[in-house]
């Protein structure tokens, strides 16, 4: 049986089981864990609202992250500005297909997939969808795994800045796109952490109790 049927909550930090049966509203009631003192909720507080808000914020930042330049390379020959997309094209044209692929996946595909998956999960829970729970569970685990890997581009920019620093003429500066991209990564990570996966398995209007 499930914890929510018996009004049992579990502490996210120390996994202690707690009895919530005396609380009236099991949505926002919380108690302090007797073992570790953390706040324990039956379900994460305002999970859907926070998760959707963070995903929308990250979508808004995703647009300037791709439009503005990630870094500006100042050389004697002038200044070259690279966005994520132009960097990928550069790698393709110069023959480094593997790196182009890595950056394409990590910086363009991964954040986009994450946003789509999180929106889908939030929407399906909101509508009380009963089917394909196992699949949605796996999607959520995928989202949690891949989230941090979009930081690759940010780190590449910071390493390049540190390495290409010869005198006043040859240097690299970070562009606005890098900061927006960083915000996208952080916001999608927070959105995934705000979403409570247990909601996938909660009731809804199911006619049959069928676990897929």
């Amino acid at each position: 049986m499930r914890g929510i049927e018996k009004s049992i909550g579990s502490c996210p930090i120390c996994h202690q089981l707690l009895d919530f049966s005396k609380e009236e509203d099991d949505g926002s009631a919380f108690r302090y864990c007797p073992r570790c003192g953390s706040e324990v909720y039956m379900r994460k507080k305002d999970s859907l609202q926070r998760s959707v808000a963070l995903v929308i914020a990250s979508i808004i930042f995703y647009i300037p992250a791709n439009l503005f330049a990630m870094m500006h390379v100042h050389t004697f020959a002038g200044t070259e500005s690279d966005t994520i997309i132009s960097g990928i094209i550069y790698f393709f044209e110069s023959g480094s297909y593997l790196i182009a692929f890595v950056i394409l996946i990590a910086s363009v595909v991964v954040p986009f997939i994450k946003m789509v998956i999180l929106l889908y999960l939030n929407y399906s829970v909101h509508k009380g969808v009963c089917k394909s729970r196992q699949r949605r569970q796996k999607l959520y685990q995928l989202t949690e795994l891949i989230g941090r890997w979009s930081m690759v581009d940010v780190y590449v920019v910071s390493i390049m800045i540190a390495l290409v620093h010869f005198g006043a003429f040859t240097q690299i500066k970070a562009g606005a796109g890098a900061i927006y991209f960083l915000l996208v990564v952080i916001l999608t990570m927070l959105a995934a952490m705000a979403f409570d996966p247990r909601l996938i398995w909660d009731g809804g209007n199911c006619k049959e109790e069928k676990m897929e």
């Binding site: 049986m1 499930r2 914890g3 929510i4 018996k6 049992i8 579990s10 996210p12 930090i13 120390c14 996994h15 202690q16 089981l17 073992r35 570790c36 003192g37 953390s38 110069s94 480094s96 790196i99 890595v102 950056i103 990590a106 569970q137 959520y140 685990q141 941090r148 890997w149 930081m151 690759v152 581009d153 940010v154 780190y155 590449v156 920019v157 910071s158 390493i159 390049m160 800045i161 540190a162 390495l163 290409v164 620093h165 010869f166 005198g167 500066k173 970070a174 890098a178 900061i179 960083l182 915000l183 952080i186 990570m189 952490m193 996966p197 247990r198 996938i200 398995w201 909660d202 676990m211």
Partner: protein, 206 residues
């Protein structure tokens, strides 16, 4: 006590686990999420791993990771230098983010796990371990050293056409550090640690 109950964090299903637990990995019957790992020697392995990580992390930060030379001029990069340049160029947000995810969080994580598992290994049980392990669990997602490694490799590919790249001792320390950290994350299970902390609480009550 022959049994213990665990509530799955992913799907809220309550499962029974024999207590003391048999060796092996316990999965939630509903969603397949790993609930509990019981393999011998976890504390010893994590203690050894965290000491190794600590030494490697100090090494990786002290020496430059990459050295780049073009037409005789040379510059070197490290975790700290990249943050320094970001800060000097005025990109405070990026500097803080890179600092937190590559230096602060990993350092705190490695040091705290070294302290925690060292104390547990040497038989000490204490209540102040509770905030220790809480911090460990909460900051874990924000340590991104493995992503930094991939970033370093991408930078190498980018710059190898423009000049000479040399990988310093820090690079190799870093290369060894990543699998050690990954292995520590893999074998870590907080349940036995919480049991040990509770023991100390029981002793104090008597």
């Amino acid at each position: 006590m022959g049994k213990r109950y665990i509530c799955c964090h992913k799907c809220d299903e309550i499962s029974e686990i024999p207590y003391p637990p048999r060796k092996g990995r316990y999965k939630c019957p509903n969603c397949g999420h790993t609930l509990f790992r019981n393999y011998p020697g976890m504390i010893e392995k994590l203690y050894a791993m965290s000491i190794a990580s600590f030494i490697l992390f100090i090494l990786a930060n002290y020496y430059p990771i990459l050295t780049f030379s073009v037409i005789g001029k040379e510059s070197s990069a490290n975790f700290a230098t990249s943050i320094e340049y970001l800060y000097l160029d005025g990109d405070y947000i990026m500097a803080i983010a890179v600092f937190m995810t590559t230096i602060l969080v990993p350092f705190v994580y490695i040091t705290l796990s070294m302290v925690l598992f060292g104390l547990l290994y040497h038989g000490k049980r204490a209540l102040f371990m509770i905030p220790l392990i809480k911090i460990l669990e909460e900051i874990r997602p924000w340590g991104m050293l493995d992503v930094f490694m991939v970033g370093t490799l991408v930078s190498i590919v980018k710059l190898v056409k423009m000049g000479d790249i040399h990988t310093g001792i820090s690079f190799w320390a870093f290369v060894i550090l990543i699998p050690i950290l990954a292995y520590s994350h893999m074998i870590f299970d907080p349940h036995p640690v919480w049991d040990m902390i509770e023991e100390s609480d029981g002793k104090k009550r008597r």
